[in-house]
Each structure stands twice: as structure tokens, then as C-alpha cells.
Symmetry: C2
Subunit: 370 residues, 2 copies
Amino acid sequence: MKLSCAKNELVNALQIVSKAVASKPQTPILSGIYLRAEAGVLELQATNYEIGLVSRIPAEIEEPGQIALSGRYFQEVVRKLPGDNVDISFNREEKIVHIRSNQANFTLLSMNASEFPTVKPVEGTLQFQIKDNILRSLIKKTVFACASDESRPIFTGCYLEVNDTKVTMAATNTHRLAVRYETFDQPIGSIKIIIPSRILQELLHNMTSEIPTDVTVTCSYNQISFAFDNLYMTSRLIEGVFPDYRRVIPPEFATSVTLNAAEFSSAVDRVSLISRAGDYNIIKLEFANNQVHITSNNPDIGNAEEAVPASIEGPELTIAFNAHYIIDVLRNIDSETCQIRLNQPLSPAAVREQGDENYIYIVTPVRTAH
Amino acid sequence: MKLSCAKNELVNALQIVSKAVASKPQTPILSGIYLRAEAGVLELQATNYEIGLVSRIPAEIEEPGQIALSGRYFQEVVRKLPGDNVDISFNREEKIVHIRSNQANFTLLSMNASEFPTVKPVEGTLQFQIKDNILRSLIKKTVFACASDESRPIFTGCYLEVNDTKVTMAATNTHRLAVRYETFDQPIGSIKIIIPSRILQELLHNMTSEIPTDVTVTCSYNQISFAFDNLYMTSRLIEGVFPDYRRVIPPEFATSVTLNAAEFSSAVDRVSLISRAGDYNIIKLEFANNQVHITSNNPDIGNAEEAVPASIEGPELTIAFNAHYIIDVLRNIDSETCQIRLNQPLSPAAVREQGDENYIYIVTPVRTAH
């Protein structure tokens, strides 16, 4: 293998695929990055068996081939290279890779490329195209609600349900639920799968193009892939049945509160400084007199209170939440104002964006002593 | 106590003094910050017995007094306050401190201010004024050479020697030595002390004024203080006798090399990527043919080499160093070119700034197998 490519393109591609390089690999080869040079393209791959990441960049290829080398050192070396261009060549006899840029010369020991578990294209029972901005909104507004605790795997992923032209993404950690609805122009079949939050986070991180892009999604019975621009990402799916999230959404609410999302968010953030040290990070919200009065109390530290103007329709009430669950959703609200809908102090509440019925966030209140 | 002050001034003052708040305090009161309000000034103090930090800011004082409260929560709360001004008042009966800014109200439990070990002014056997830029240069060019290992305390500090108009600061970890000389306009007496690197680092961090400032230094037999702007910093001194560093500086060198400091620094940084994983981080420098050829080798990873143009006077030679010790000094070189002076492959070498005989850095080479 012998090629030349632009340093910053190689740095970017390495940054993307290195997210799948395991820090504690099951087998040594998984600490490596796989390179294949062919027909004007350098392809980089990394995988930890759970997810696989592939990035392609243009390269001047003098001799095609494939190599694998330590992900960590390859990335560090490339990032520090002095020039705009990088020459990479493989010496088959010595089993070393030469990396050159301006006056700097590195050699890195190579791994056995034939041992690398290359990322196979997912061959799907269902394939569809989705606009990146729609996919981004489905993920961004739900993935934060997943459980981080691995004890119940189905809650560590987002549930994707496609039905003709309707697409729904839902995520829950059993204390809060986020559901986003979108509509396709054309019917695209039917699917119900649970996608690990890990690959969705990576996808969100890499869907940064300002030009609208189509993402090709392919699902098999146990795998999913996303292809766009010069990226290809695969992941296993989570086995299991996602609970019927619809049952969690109350059919109606007695009280509806409208307030400025940014104002409310920074007030909750401040007041929760005091409760954060406690186990449940409890803040109390008193909806009355055209304002929400936010309080927290920690006998070891002190207490905090702040009021934010609010327009309240329906009965006034006081309710308590884990502050994290409120801050999380407010961070992902795009509208200037948000709506909070409530029933009783111990009944689930909803948070919605202003004028957008395609998103709902349900959060269970906390019982407090006072 | 009751006062009002500017939020950003309070945030800055808290940032400064909080460096002396111990994360694992010997006694609970040391996790606190002490506040004294008097005559238009709010004074903040923190200490861990080793160092004491005092910062003063203007305040509108309605009722003078003193309080102590949790450093961690006070800092977090103040940083997040929404307004430009902060009102602080102490309720003596409830023993709580009220903090108000715009719509936000916090109360924090107070500590017993009378238990706080307030920072006492150092009463000195020697007091002198020094320009901040001279003090900054003395510290910046030496403090990085201190030992971080606490096993031999005298090497964890900088040696300060004042003799009439001459002032010298020296630091070593026994493998490398940095010495900076400065001259005063007037004789200021005589002193030989070892100052902990910790307080010098804080001092360097806080001497950021662009206007030339005089720093008042006061030394007692076991303490030192630095006063400037609205800051007062004290530290214990390190007991012991600093070794005669002059004996370590070779009287002459056979070879003198001049090279671009930034070019050399980034090449050493790159080449040491490969050696860094090893115990001694060894790089080899071959001074020959109007260049320095820098190489490193790690049998588990690979190797690296790069050449930088150099003007060499005297015999050519090859010598090896711990790359850290070279990178550290090059980071603190202010001149465009630097000089490396050498004798034999196993004799100490010197690094100097171009045209500045008031600074010398001595580094011991490493013996290599090949």
C-alpha cells in the first residue's frame, strides 16, 4: 500500500472512526484502525463488535492495499504531523507502516489486517431514505431520555416505529419518557426496533452538514446501518419488546402553563445547585399567581428559591420533580416558550414545545415530605 | 453583616481564594471561605495552613461584620447568579447567609467565623518591593523545574537568594536545573529561602496586570507574603538547605548549537510521541551536518525521526535526553532562537535563550544502549 492524502481530512476521518476503538478491547486487533486504499479512496474502519464506523476520504493511491495499525498511536501521530499532506506506505517484509509529512518520519508497527473484523454492509429487510434534519430531530429530542444503567437493556436504546408514512422515536428510563413523531412523504413499510443510544449519539455528532442530506437507513433482524456523505455506521439492535409507551401519556391535563423556556431553564439550573448534592435532586414547583415559584432545600447546605412569570390556565398546584429531568428536556426545546401540562401533584406531567404537537415529554413527579 | 457588590468582581475574587480551599480539609472550617465587610471593602480569605489567599473588592456596606461559609457552594451559587449585583446578608439568629441577585434567592448555612484561622500578615525580617515583570520572569523560567515528588521537600520549591542588588531563583529535581538572575536598582539586603512551588504557581497565575505593578515581598524565618493590587498571598517556607547549584553548571562547553526554538520544540514534541509510552521518554539528538537529527524508538510501537536545521560550532556529537526535560524548557523560552551547549554524550548540557546570559538551564543526559 502506498498513498498520499490531505492531513486535515485524515485527522477528521480518524476522529470519527476512533470512537469505535475500544479502550479495553476484547481482542488486541480491536484496538486497531483498518485502512483500505483502492480506486482513489482511503477507507478507515474501526469496530468494537457493537458498533462499526467507516469513513472514506479521497487519496492519491500509488499502490492499493490494506493495513491495520494501533488506533491510539496512529491518531496521535497524524494529529501532530507538521505538513498539509501525509504519505503512508506499508513495508510488507518489515511489517511496518511509514508515515511522512514534511520533515517528520514515523514508522508504526502494523497489525495483521487479515485478522481485522471488517465492517460488513448490513443487508436489510427494510431500507429507506430519511432527510438528515428529520433524523436529527427524532434523535436529539429523545435520546437523552434513555437509561444509562445497563440492568434493563431495552431502556438503553431508542424505540423506532415506522408505519407507512408515520415514524415515531421514543425513549424512557421509566421515570421519564420522550416521544417524537415525524411524517414521511411516501409510505416506507413497517418496523419496530430498539436502537442503542450509543450509535444514535455518534450519528447526531456526525450529522453536521449544513446542506440537507439524505441518510440511507438499512435494517436487518439484528442490525442497523446509516450511510451518508462519506460515512457508514452500523450497530447491533437491542433485543426485546419495548413497552407500550402510549399508555404512559395521560389523555388530558387539567392545568396548562406557558412560560419562557430559557428563563425557566436557568432558574431551575440555579435552584437545583442546592438540591444536587442530595440523592434525588428534588425541586418543588408552585404554579400560582401567574408565576412558577421554584424552591429547593437541603438541610446540610441551605435553600434556594426563584420565581419566573408564567401564564397558568386551570387549577393552581404544587408539584416536585427530579431537577435533572426538567433541565434535560429544557435543553432540547427549540421554541422560545414551552408548555407544562399537569393534573395532580402525584400524576405524570407533560412538557411540550410551543405550537408543536409532534413532541411530548412525560415526567413522573416525586413525592415530598412537605 | 449586610452588603452589596458587583457579581463579576465577587466571582473573580472567589476564583482566586478558592485555590486555597482544601478538597480534603484537615478540619471542616478549612473547607470554608471567610468574608469580612468593613469600610467599603469586602475581604475574602481561604487557607489550608500551607498557603493563605486574601482578595479584596469594593462593596457597599450597610452593616459591617464577618462570616464563614462553604467554599464550594458559595462559589457555585455566586457563579450562577443571574444579575450584575449581589446582596449578601447574615442572619445571626438563624445562622444563615442570604444571597440575592435579581429574582434568585439563596440561603446558605454559615460556619462559625470565629473558628476560621484568618490569614495573619507576615511580619518580616526582610521586606522589599519587586516589579511584577521581574518576579514573573524569575518564577516562570524556574518553577517548572521543581520536583513534583514530595520525598525530598527542598526540591519541591524554588530557591530564592537575594544579595544586595542581585537576586537569583533556582529550581531542580536533581535531573535538571533552572537558574534565573535579575538585578535590583537598589541593594535590598540578604536572604536565602526555599519557597514552595505551589504559591509561586498561584502568584504567576494572578500576576496578570498589563500595567507594571510593584509586589511587596515580606519574609520571616518561616513564612513569606506577596502583596499587590487587591491580593495578599502567604505561604510557609520549606525548611532545609538548598544544595550549591553553582557546582552543577559546567564552567565551559565544547560545542555550541543555535537553532529555532519553536521548530525544535514542535519536532521534539512529535518525535517523543513514540518514546512517551516508555519509562524514560528517551529521545536521541544527533548534532551533525548543520542539523539536529531527532529520533526515538519503542520496540512495541515504532519509531520517529525528524531533522531541524542548526548552526553547530565545535565537535559534532550524539546525546540522549528525557524528552520532557527538553520540551519543558523550550516552552519557557521567549527568544526566537535558543542555544544548546554540550560537552560529552554523558556530560550535562545547557539550554540558553539567545542573547540572555541571565538564564541557564542544565539537563543531565540519559545513557542509551545504542
